[in-house]
Symmetry: C2
DNA sequence: GTCTATAAGAAGATAGAC
DNA sequence: GTCTATCTTCTTATAGAC
């Protein structure tokens, strides 16, 4: 039964690089170390592999959402920490988020697959927006809301402040998905971005 | 010879919706109103149509770059105008950029095709980043540089300020490419974003 | 569960008449 | 330049032995 999972893994790798239509069942089988017909003992057809990947994604997303809820609860305490050196904390928060999204193998392959397949149907489009736009904004919005309450940051509109924090990180991420060799440059840009963000939004700092 | 161009047009439409591999020569021909074999009198093979689209893109990009140079020269004068009501000018600048990118038919189809095909080779990846990241940042960076010189905006780092202006617009654009029904919401978010951007960076306004 | 052999069908491309 | 007929190749999927 391990073969079934390995098929999914290898398929995800190939789909994320070439797109579903450009990957042949024989390619997946070869990577697993079996012949194409053997694969049909594990999945009904090629598309069932894709469906299994999407299911696995939904399962993992729910798990992550659960984990974030816990972190969210912890964040109330964390917000106290942010009072001390908000700038370094923000740099760490942004950098960790960026590097996790970029380097976590499953996350990266899945995001690239969704990027390629996002226009094929509404579900995939919605999944992409939820996972890489709405959920990060929602979670970080909660953190920033706590920081505003704690008097660390200051703004009239937490939602837009969150957008100002996350949108550059998102854009740098899409750059590195396309051109991994720009990662160092992206990390430098991100640090500058966050330090400027902090100057703009930190309480009692005045204009930069 | 008009047929040759119509083939390219219909191919671009289909490629931008389904991706190259999922579009069949017969589909393109049908939209043009001919049979598949007739298409081979105009293009050597299917991939030659794709190549022609990329060539057309490069031609248009160069034209646009030229046009931007002219606008850049004009922008010196424009920067004077920005002195009066910078916030409304910024809202107009951002909204026009967003709506042009989103609604211009060729731009939209081409961007979606590049989104789908960006991981297929280095050239496409580089073209995407140049067109939708580096060039907009470069052009807007110049405009903002002029505004800083004119004393309208204030910052230590024009590049990051430009990123703060453009990254949210870029993210909203990718949302609307996936889910066009979110355009109204995106426009509202963008206006809030730009008004807050102005509060953050406008000279002599203090913290918000 | 894996294999070889093969069926079934799709899709790109060519031949040659008009 | 467009058509119909056809070739060729590729790809998914099944049959049936081991």
């Amino acid at each position: 039964m391990d073969t079934k999972h390995r098929i999914m893994e290898e398929a995800l790798t190939l789909f994320s690089e070439k797109g579903y239509a450009n990957v042949f069942v024989a390619d997946i089988a070869e990577r697993v170390g079996i012949k194409a017909p053997s694969l049909y003992k594990h999945y009904k057809n090629k598309h069932a592999i894709f469906d299994a990947i999407i299911e696995e994604m939904n399962r993992r997303f729910l798990e992550e959402a659960g984990a974030l809820q816990i972190n969210g609860a912890d964040a109330v305490a964390d917000a106290e920490i942010y009072k001390k050196i908000p700038e370094e904390q923000l740099v760490t928060l942004g950098t960790n988020l960026f590097l996790y999204f970029l380097h976590d193998d499953y996350t990266r392959r899945f995001r690239k697959m969704l990027t390629i397949e996002q226009f094929h149907d509404k579900e995939l489009a919605a999944a992409y927006t939820k996972q890489y736009v709405d959920d990060p904004l929602s979670y970080q919005g909660m953190l920033f809301g706590l920081m505003v309450s704690a008097g660390v940051l200051q703004t009239e509109n937490v939602g837009i402040m969150t957008l100002h924090f996350y949108a550059p990180i998102y854009m740098l991420l899409t750059i590195c998905d396309r051109e991994p060799e720009r990662e160092t440059e992206a990390l430098k840009t991100m640090e500058e971005h966050i330090r400027q963000f902090n100057r703009l939004y930190a309480r009692n700092e005045g204009i930069i």
